[in-house]
């Protein structure tokens, strides 16, 4: 079942005359949510900008095939997560090193990032999040920052809610330990 706004977007999209308007409404409704979700995964603004534009172009090209098996928001979030993870994966590949730790590089890059403004504690928090395994990092960010419900995250990541709760629990514990010990 789509929300009222999503239903409206899909209706406009199906009509050739209102397609552009429908897409504009979609971009306006989701751009910030999608940007922040991607930004916390890929960290740099430039990369986030590339991925977010790529995601919306992909949505434009594929929304005609969207069968409404899932909510529109879930479908959009899923594309965003997959594309952001694909970027990280391509980095690992480009480095030709099987165990190249891209998250460690991203944590190091925070200090010199023009678009990262944090005190010591916030920097430490972000570094501790980047030290988590990718899946735990995703779950933690989506729950803690994006405030998505476990039910919604479960649909986006196609994982059971209990497994997500476990991931969140361990992510939280690791972050706490990192903040206290280091």
């Amino acid at each position: 079942m789509q929300s009222g706004q999503d239903e409206d977007i899909l209706c406009q999209f199906r009509d050739k005359n209102t397609r552009d308007r429908g897409f504009n409404v979609l971009v306006s409704a989701y751009q910030e949510k999608i940007y922040w979700l991607i930004r916390r995964i890929v960290i740099s603004h430039d990369d986030s900008n590339d991925v977010v534009q790529f995601v919306f172009i992909k949505i434009w090209n594929n929304i005609g095939d969207f069968r409404e098996d899932a909510k529109l928001s879930t479908w959009i979030y899923r594309i965003a997560v997959n594309e952001a993870l694909a970027l990280l994966k391509s980095r690992k590949f480009i480095n030709f090193i099987p165990f190249f730790n891209v998250e460690k590089k991203l944590a190091e890059s925070l200090v010199d990032d023009h678009f990262f403004q944090a005190d010591e504690i916030e920097l430490k928090l972000q570094k501790s999040i980047l030290a988590l395994p990718t899946r735990q990092r995703l779950v933690f960010n989506m729950r803690y920052y994006d405030e998505l419900s476990f039910e919604e995250i479960s649909r986006i990541l196609n994982t059971s809610e209990s497994a997500l709760k476990s991931s969140y629990h361990f992510a939280f514990k690791k972050i706490k330990k990192y903040l206290i010990d280091d």
Binding site: Q53, I57, W60, I94, I97, F100, V102, E120, F170
Partner: protein, 182 residues
């Protein structure tokens, strides 16, 4: 605690997180975007769609840095491999002999310091088993293959009443991080 600002001065960086951004993320957000970024994003996306740009992520920013570091690492490995081939045979032999002698003496010293003779004999004995006799399931080695397979199935069959939630709760109660065992 005294706050340390990790960001360089830049005109297009907002002084503080916008109210919309706070509302959107729910938590304090140290990541920033250029001023008016979200206002211009829909136009950028529309322009790309109209221009019919191929749907492909760009390799920008850090990805180039990562690529260069990967190439540098590969170059170092190749140089080392070539160099090792160029070392005269005599030198190689001496080097191997040196490593061999020292390795042996180090191992001997370690064993003398840390283990008594009886422990060494026990370690080298073929009769030592990882399991006590009670822990080894009683599966007859005689009989046909199907019978043995059935006996093994019966012995190792997982209790059907154990649910995924039980496993997750067990992990949490025993403090086992699933990431470390999967």
């Amino acid at each position: 605690m005294k706050k340390k600002n990790y960001i360089r001065q830049d005109k297009d960086i907002p002084d503080k997180v916008s109210e919309d951004q706070k509302k959107m993320t729910g938590r304090k957000n140290p990541f920033k975007v250029p001023e008016h970024y979200f206002e211009g994003l829909p136009v950028q996306i529309q322009n790309k769609i109209k221009a019919g740009e191929p749907v492909k992520q760009k390799n920008t920013g850090l990805i180039k840095t990562f690529a260069y570091s990967g190439i540098a690492a590969a170059a170092i490995i190749i140089i080392l491999l070539v160099f090792s081939e160029l070392i005269p045979e005599k030198t190689q032999e001496n080097k191997q002999q040196y490593i061999g002698n020292n390795f042996e003496s180090t191992i001997t010293e370690y064993l003398e310091d840390n283990m008594d003779e009886s422990a060494l004999i026990e370690m080298s004995s073929d009769s030592v088993s990882l399991f006590s006799p009670e822990e080894i399931p009683d599966i007859s080695l005689t009989g046909d293959h199907d019978a043995r397979a059935q006996a093994a199935d019966k012995e190792f069959k997982m209790d059907a009443s154990i649910t995924e939630n039980d496993i997750i709760e067990y992990f949490i109660s025993e403090n086992i991080d699933p990431e470390t065992i999967l």
